[in-house]
């Protein structure tokens, strides 16, 4: 076993709170063959096709903001041509023969293109939603790089829903040019370690990043979320909305940084994180950082943590719901805005099922 120090925050705080990074013990990580990466496109129009490269194995250092290293990794490119509109689904499916995936997905969205990309990290059983699911001891070390050219629009949804014992390390890096808009939704639903990082540079004027995140934790899950968005262009905009619920002895770290760089005049940054604590031993840590080197901006953040309001519970139970159903309803309600934004019935059901799972 080796201890890795991962997912560093952009600025440090006092060491005794153990939030500057996360220490994870892992067995020796080795690159292994993975044969269940599928990319599905809707090539409706022959002229405007997404170009999906063959997946290559790269011999070299795999680096990401999470800093879990490897000296070999898979690499796949997806190019969305200018003025096209493409929906793509990337499936990374784990089973007993495919337990380790280390790789990068590079998504280039050309000028004025629009794309919706779902990255579904599941076990085969989970994707198929079968009754008896294998609890695969999976390892996912994924990097998604998204480059948006001028006026491009992209919606990226990452579903992290492999298995109870899975360890996932998902790093998303984004670069947005003028007027580009990126809507990133991450669903951290299942897994023993759910370590994720989103790093975005709003380079162009009027570029915009919206990050929506749902996280759930039970047993002794560790959730470590590190979102860092830099406003560089004028009138750039960032919104971060993270909602979660943890129970049993689960631990959650939320680190959200909005960094207003100098000359990002009239940039706007808003950040909100809300955590529902469902047990006495669940532990919530939050570090919502606002860094500002530009006068003419507006930034705000808010954080809340606590148990479900007893009054709300009582109200629903007087309407005939038992306590568990009432809790599920309240949690789903708090996630509602993000669930609705997903616009995919299957994924919405998955989120609701995951909520059911943690309210036993």
């Amino acid at each position: 076993m080796k201890e890795y120090v991962l997912n560093e925050t952009p600025v440090r705080t006092t060491n005794n709170y153990e939030i500057n990074n996360i220490k994870v013990e892992l067995e020796n990580i080795e690159f292994k063959e993975f044969n269940e990466l599928k990319i599905l496109t809707n090539k409706a129009n022959d002229l405007d096709k997404a170009k999906v490269s063959d997946t290559k194995i790269i011999e070299g250092e795999f680096t990401s903001k999470i800093s879990l290293p490897s000296n070999k990794y898979y690499s796949t490119n997806i190019d969305i041509p200018a003025y096209s509109k493409e929906d793509i689904e990337v499936q990374i499916l784990f089973d007993n023969d495919n337990k380790t995936y280390i790789g990068e997905l590079v998504i280039n969205v050309a000028e004025n293109a629009e794309t919706k990309i779902k990255v579904r990290c599941n076990s085969k059983d989970n994707l198929a939603n079968t009754e008896n699911k294998d609890n695969i001891d999976a390892l996912l070390n994924l990097k998604v790089i998204t480059n948006l050219e001028k006026n491009a629009i992209a919606t990226i949804i990452v579903e992290n829903n492999i298995s109870k014992d899975a360890k996932s390390f998902i790093s998303i890096e984004n670069n947005l040019q003028e007027n580009a808009k990126l809507y990133t939704t991450t669903l951290d639903l299942l897994g023993k370690n759910k370590i994720s990082n989103i790093y975005t540079k709003l380079i162009g004027d009027n570029s915009e990043q919206t990050i929506r995140n749902i996280y759930l934790g039970n047993n002794e899950d560790i959730i470590d979320l590190n979102f860092d968005v830099e406003t560089i262009g004028k009138k750039s905009k960032v919104t971060i909305d993270s909602k979660g619920a943890i129970t049993d002895k689960a631990k959650k770290n939320f680190k959200g940084t909005i960094d207003f760089k100098k000359d990002s005049v009239k940039a706007i940054g808003k950040e909100q994180e809300d955590c529902i604590l469902l047990s006495k031993q669940a532990k919530s840590r939050s570090l919502p950082i606002l860094l500002c080197h530009e006068e003419d901006v507006f930034g705000e953040h808010g954080v809340s943590s606590g148990k479900i309001d007893n009054k709300k519970l009582f109200y629903l139970m007087t309407r005939g719901l038992d306590e568990k159903e009432a809790k599920k309803t309240i949690i789903r309600a708090s996630f509602n805005e993000i669930i609705n934004s997903v616009e995919d019935e299957e994924l919405q059901n998955k989120i609701n099922q995951a909520v059911d799972e943690i309210i036993k």
């Binding site: 006092t14 280039n108 540079k201 604590l277 500002c292 901006v297 930034g299 954080v303 606590g306």
Partner: protein, 489 residues
């Protein structure tokens, strides 16, 4: 089409933060503002030590004629200081060279005088200019005045003495009340806490000791004022306050120093004990000179149904690392923190607060504001830890930051650890510039743009000045006015 992502960006933000201050110190002329705080007396002393060695510590202890137990603590603290690392977060402290700091400066004055007539004219006139004797006459129940490393004047109203209130300088307390001091000294802030706590315990000198017996309510504040005159010197005062069961106290702390071209250091220590059902308001107006490194430690332990109120205005120092900490140990204990930091040219003020909620039904309210201008850096750090035993607790943290130009920086780095589900907790922060609409509104009422901005800034600071006695609110507003001069319009 692919854009390269700089893989070394992890520490870029830290570099940005370090470079802003260096750039702006070079860019702006180093002005020395002529005001009462910048009055310099000749560097006269009866005894002085420079640097930090075991011999120096033994000398200081011998000069003070301390008991052996205190010397042993100093020596242990020196060992600890040498072992502990510098902090690897926050402002850059590499400019600090302890071998050049005057760790002890004894002024040419009778110590612990009971009348201002016994204080040398030069020193007295400094305190006069700062308004201390005046405040003593009009508004205070007791005053302690420290000049460099020693208390030169101490007074307390007679009727308080009759009620059993003790207010004396800390050196005297060690000799006169050793059992009481031993019971509490270093029990709130251990020397192992961090490197500058260890340094403090090695070279502490001066400071105040306050003991308020059970049930005694002091309706008028007590003040200690710390003035550091010597260039290149350190001030390491120790303040220990015990408010017994059911008692109340308002303690005011003020500090200032004239500006020199060499580094001065402040590594004081404030230990506060608020017992069951007692209440303490601790107000600070800090106006150290802009060559000062202010690495002070403050902490309180609050008992059952006890209350601590912090009111803090930080205006001075070149570099400040200051995070008053409240441990709400007793059930029903509460904390209120109201603070403002104002970072101007060449300043890096890294301030905030820490709260640990241990007892049941505890509650905390934090209202913090910061203003930065002319390249100043303001960083607000709140560190809040709600333990599993803090059932049915409440906690609200609010932080607002105002930037007056784009040369400055304003960062908010709050850290919240929640270990119980039975809590109502919320945190919010905003950052931005003075509202254009507010300026327009005031200008449409005939006020100039410059005055409008100044009014808005003073309004922004209003919650803090409201929490202070009138004389100190006026002083705080004067400090704000001084800071705003030349920066707006």
């Amino acid at each position: 089409m692919k854009i390269d992502v700089n893989q070394n960006d992890v520490n870029k933000t830290e570099l940005d933060r370090a470079n802003v201050n260096k750039t702006n110190v070079n860019k702006f002329k180093d002005e020395t503002v002529e005001n009462i705080y910048n009055l310099k007396n000749e560097d006269k002393y009866s005894y002085k030590t420079i640097g930090l060695t075991e011999d120096i510590i033994r000398e200081i202890s011998e000069k003070k004629q301390e008991p052996e137990w205190m010397l042993n603590i100093r020596l242990k603290a020196l060992e600890m200081y040498e072992k502990l690392p510098m902090p690897n977060w926050g402002p850059d402290l590499s400019e600090l060279d302890m071998s050049k700091i005057a760790t002890y400066v004894r002024p040419q004055s009778k110590l612990n005088s009971k009348t201002w007539d016994d204080v040398p004219d030069e020193i007295k006139s400094t305190f006069d200019a700062l308004g201390i004797p005046e405040a003593e006459k009009e508004a205070l129940a007791g005053v302690g005045a420290q000049y460099d490393s020693e208390i030169v004047y101490h007074s307390i109203k007679e009727d308080l003495v009759k009620q059993g209130v003790i207010y004396t300088d800390f050196d005297q307390a060690v000799k006169l009340y050793p059992d009481l001091v031993k019971q509490y000294f270093m029990k709130c802030i251990p020397m192992t806490d961090h490197k500058f706590a260890a340094l403090h315990y090695a070279v502490w000198s001066g400071g105040s000791f306050v003991y308020v017996p059970k049930g005694v309510n002091l309706s008028i504040p007590i003040q200690s004022y710390f003035r550091l005159n010597a260039p290149g010197a350190g001030q390491f005062e120790h303040t220990l306050i015990i408010v017994e069961e059911g008692a109340t106290l308002h303690f005011i702390e003020g500090c200032s120093a004239p500006k020199y071209n060499e580094i001065n250091l402040h590594a004081g220590c404030v230990e506060l004990f608020v017992k069951d059902n007692a209440s303490l308001r601790y107000s600070t107006i800090e106006n150290w000179s802009k060559n000062m490194m202010n690495l002070n430690s403050k902490r309180v332990i609050v008992g059952k149904n006890g209350k601590i109120e912090w009111v803090t205005g930080s205006f001075g120092s070149k570099i400040s690392m200051l995070y008053p900490m409240s441990i709400l140990q007793g059930d029903g204990s509460t904390c209120e923190y109201t603070g403002i930091s104002f970072a101007g040219r060449g300043q890096n003020l890294d301030t905030g607060m820490k709260i640990v909620q241990l007892g049941k039904n505890t509650s905390s309210i934090v209202d913090a504001k910061s203003i930065s201008k002319d390249g100043g850096i303001c960083t607000f750090r709140s560190n809040v830890h709600v333990k599993p035993t803090a059932i049915n607790s409440k906690l609200t943290v609010s932080c607002e930051s105002l930037m007056l130009d784009s040369e400055s920086r304003s960062d908010t780095i709050p850290n919240d650890i929640i270990e119980t589900d039975d809590i109502e907790y919320s945190h919010e922060a905003t950052i931005g510039k003075i509202s254009d609409q507010a300026i327009f509104y005031l200008m449409s009422r005939g006020i100039s743009e410059k005055d409008a901005k100044a009014m808005i800034v003073r309004g922004f600071a209003n919650p803090i000045s409201k929490a202070l006695p009138l004389e100190y609110a006026v002083e705080m507003n004067n400090l704000i006015n001084l800071e705003l001069e030349g920066s707006i319009g």
